[in-house]
């Protein structure tokens, strides 16, 4: 099976006014996504997860690295050629209040991608809008109404309908439930999981919320300061994390009383002044001399599992060492 999406050594630098002159928002990120898979990307604010989402869709240009989508290198395409590929890759944003044009009716918002890509005639487009509203659990009768008449959860349904209008293969979900209350969040997560199965979608699901990521993902990538520090099947990563940062993130989930608590000291450093060696070493409870001097690489620790830590070892060895 060939990957639907393959991101290779993706890097994004932004110029800054500081002495360093460069902020590396995304640093040598490689990942792949199989058809039908959900890859969760989790990390704290400023870790580069949203920048990575925009690089994958080529909404911003990378400094270096490539994105192959359905076999085509997107980074090499011209603007016009890129546009035809965009049909197959869509995004849903966090804030359903900011991402819908308040002056457009819901029907026009959902029909806009169809208009842009000249799909069908006017009548066919409206039939499609009706179909999409029904698909996301809204009454087709609301097509004439405006975004301000809807609650946050309903607006997110509208955003999802718009993203699905062109029958994409890949949907990037950037914090799609972070602005919603927990009872509404559950409605939207259920809808996303149901749609994925029905429409054979593949998801890149970005969130700062570990419980949400654990719930929706097949595989998980944990980001810290622009780099993936751990990647593997969701169950394994959450049950037996390999990287000390992943362990600290999981331990910090409030209410997870049964887990051992290791409160991480300090704040993440500024991406403009990255620490030497392993970027995590100033906050790492297990840091040693090697970590201050030499940067680790993301390496295979056990089957399908990678971690960027000098001291990461397969879980069975961890268990033996603690006996």
């Amino acid at each position: 099976m060939t990957a639907l999406l393959a991101v290779d050594a993706m890097t994004k630098d932004y110029p800054t006014r500081g002495s360093a002159g460069i902020l590396r928002a995304v640093d040598q990120v490689s990942l792949s996504l199989e058809p039908g898979e959900t890859l969760g990307i989790v990390g704290e604010s400023g870790c580069g997860k949203s920048t990575l989402a925009r690089l994958i869709l080529r909404l911003i240009e990378p400094t270096s690295g490539t994105v192959r989508f359905m076999g085509t290198d997107l980074t090499a395409l011209s603007g016009r050629a890129m546009r035809s590929h965009r049909r197959n890759m869509q995004i849903v944003f966090q804030d359903p209040y900011a991402s819908l044009d308040p002056r457009m009716s819901v029907g026009s918002i959902i029909a806009e991608p169809l208009d842009i890509h000249s799909v069908g005639d006017r009548q066919a487009r409206w039939r499609r809008v009706t179909e999409l509203l029904d698909l996301v659990g809204l009454s087709p009768a609301v097509a004439g109404r405006y975004p301000h008449e809807f609650s946050g959860g309903q607006r997110q349904r509208i955003g999802i309908a718009r993203a699905l209008a062109l029958d994409p293969k890949l949907v990037v979900l950037d914090e799609p439930v972070s602005a919603l209350d927990v009872s509404i969040q559950a409605q939207i997560l259920n809808l996303l999981l149901e749609l994925k199965g029905r429409l054979n979608l593949s998801y890149i699901f970005i969130s700062h919320d570990l419980s949400v990521i654990e719930h929706v993902s097949d595989r998980v990538a944990v980001m810290y300061l622009g780099r993936i520090v751990e990647m593997g099947p969701a169950e394994a990563v959450f049950d037996r994390p390999l990287h000390p940062y992943t362990r600290a993130l999981i331990a910090a989930i409030p209410g997870a009383a049964d887990r051992e608590r290791t409160v991480l000291r300090g704040d993440p450093p500024s991406p403009e002044r990255l620490p030497s060696g392993c970027h995590f070493h100033p906050r790492c409870p297990m840091a040693r001399e090697l970590c201050r001097e030499t940067a680790p690489v993301l390496r295979l620790i056990e089957q399908n599992r990678r971690a960027e830590c000098h001291f990461a070892v397969p879980v069975d060895i961890q268990t033996q060492a603690s006996i």
Binding site: S151, A186, N190, L210, G255, R261
Partner: protein
């Protein structure tokens, strides 16, 4: 030992005026904060939890008024106290911290000066005399190099440090009660864990009582002794945290817990609560949870349920509580 609770809220109703009608946002809420205990008010957006906290501090917007009820605090009824009296109480005998420290701190003042201002105001102290107390307080809230930090401006500090400064400001006059309104909502999970640990240790060291307002049941489980679950302006359920979260009696509490991805099997549909929270104007007669409730009976539509004790030490406002 004084057995009276430090704060007792009785039959509190808070309403706003709309087209000549008084619309209650908080509708007859009652709860107590015992001395040395932490009580959490939990609810979703629009539940009235923040309005309740603001009513206690008498910081309601001009269009919103306390229409009935008592707020007993150290022999004073805060519901009817005059503004001059409230100015003596706020910041001195009741400390307050808010969700977003950046909007609560003065961006043009050094943080040490802002903390000292509380002592200048409430203790008629000189800035010079306040300095050692400010430094000691910064150290107490876990800020390293306090002399250096004291001279910095809020924008020079990280979100976590700013929240520590807010806590220092709230506690510098030695209040018995701390009101914390979503104190960790804007913070990353590893920083949230630091602040929750700080609040826990300060409570124990200073014998504080804390009224914590949050939407996050995980935060309640971390920090609180007792919890008050608020739905559509009324108390749905209250009691010791272990009972309310462990064996919820109100279908809304049970629904909130079941909707959280934290407790569900990965990928399985979440138990979403259907529908939306009714807005203050459309609550009608009977139980406000009626339209979303899987356990509703005929009487729920006509008779408003009152809080009654359940077998496990909590109290639920429900005609057909979860067994």
């Amino acid at each position: 030992m004084n057995a009276d609770p430090l704060l007792r809220v009785e039959n509190l109703t808070v309403a706003f005026k709309s087209d000549g009608n008084l619309i209650p946002v908080v509708d007859g809420i009652a709860f107590s904060v015992p001395r040395g205990r932490t009580v959490g008010l939990v609810g979703e957006s629009g539940s009235g939890k923040t309005m309740t906290a603001h009513a206690v501090m008498r910081l309601l917007p001009p269009s919103v008024k306390i229409t009935t009820g008592r707020i007993a605090f150290e022999g004073i009824d805060l519901a009817t106290a005059g503004e001059p009296e409230m100015q003596h109480i706020r910041g001195d005998r009741i400390g307050m911290i808010f969700q977003e420290p950046m909007t609560s701190l003065n961006p043009t003042m050094r943080v040490g000066d802002q903390i000292a201002e509380m002592l200048l105001l409430h203790r008629a102290m000189s800035r010079r005399a306040a300095e050692p107390q400010v430094i000691a307080m910064l150290r107490k809230v876990g800020i390293g190099s306090p002399e250096l930090r004291s001279a910095q401006f809020p924008h020079e500090l990280s979100g976590g440090l700013r929240q520590r400064v807010m806590i220092a400001m709230a506690l510098i006059c030695g209040p018995k009660l701390l009101i914390a309104d979503e104190p960790t909502t804007a913070l990353d999970v590893t920083i949230q864990a630091q602040i929750l640990e700080l609040l826990r240790s300060l409570r124990n060291a200073l014998g504080l009582s804390i009224l914590l307002i949050t939407h996050d049941l995980g935060v309640i489980a971390e920090l609180c002794d007792e919890v008050v679950v608020i739905y559509a302006g009324r108390v749905a359920e209250k009691g010791p945290v272990a009972q309310v979260l462990g064996q919820p009696r109100h279908p809304y509490t049970a629904g909130l817990l079941a909707a959280s991805p934290r407790r569900s099997r990965r990928g399985a549909p979440l138990a979403a609560i259907p529908g939306l929270v009714p807005s203050p104007g459309e609550r009608g007669v009977g139980c406000t949870f009626l339209r979303r409730c899987p356990r509703r009976l005929d009487r729920c539509a006509t008779i408003t349920p009152t809080l009654s004790a359940t077998i496990n030490g909590s109290a639920a406002a429900c005609w057909n509580p979860v067994a």
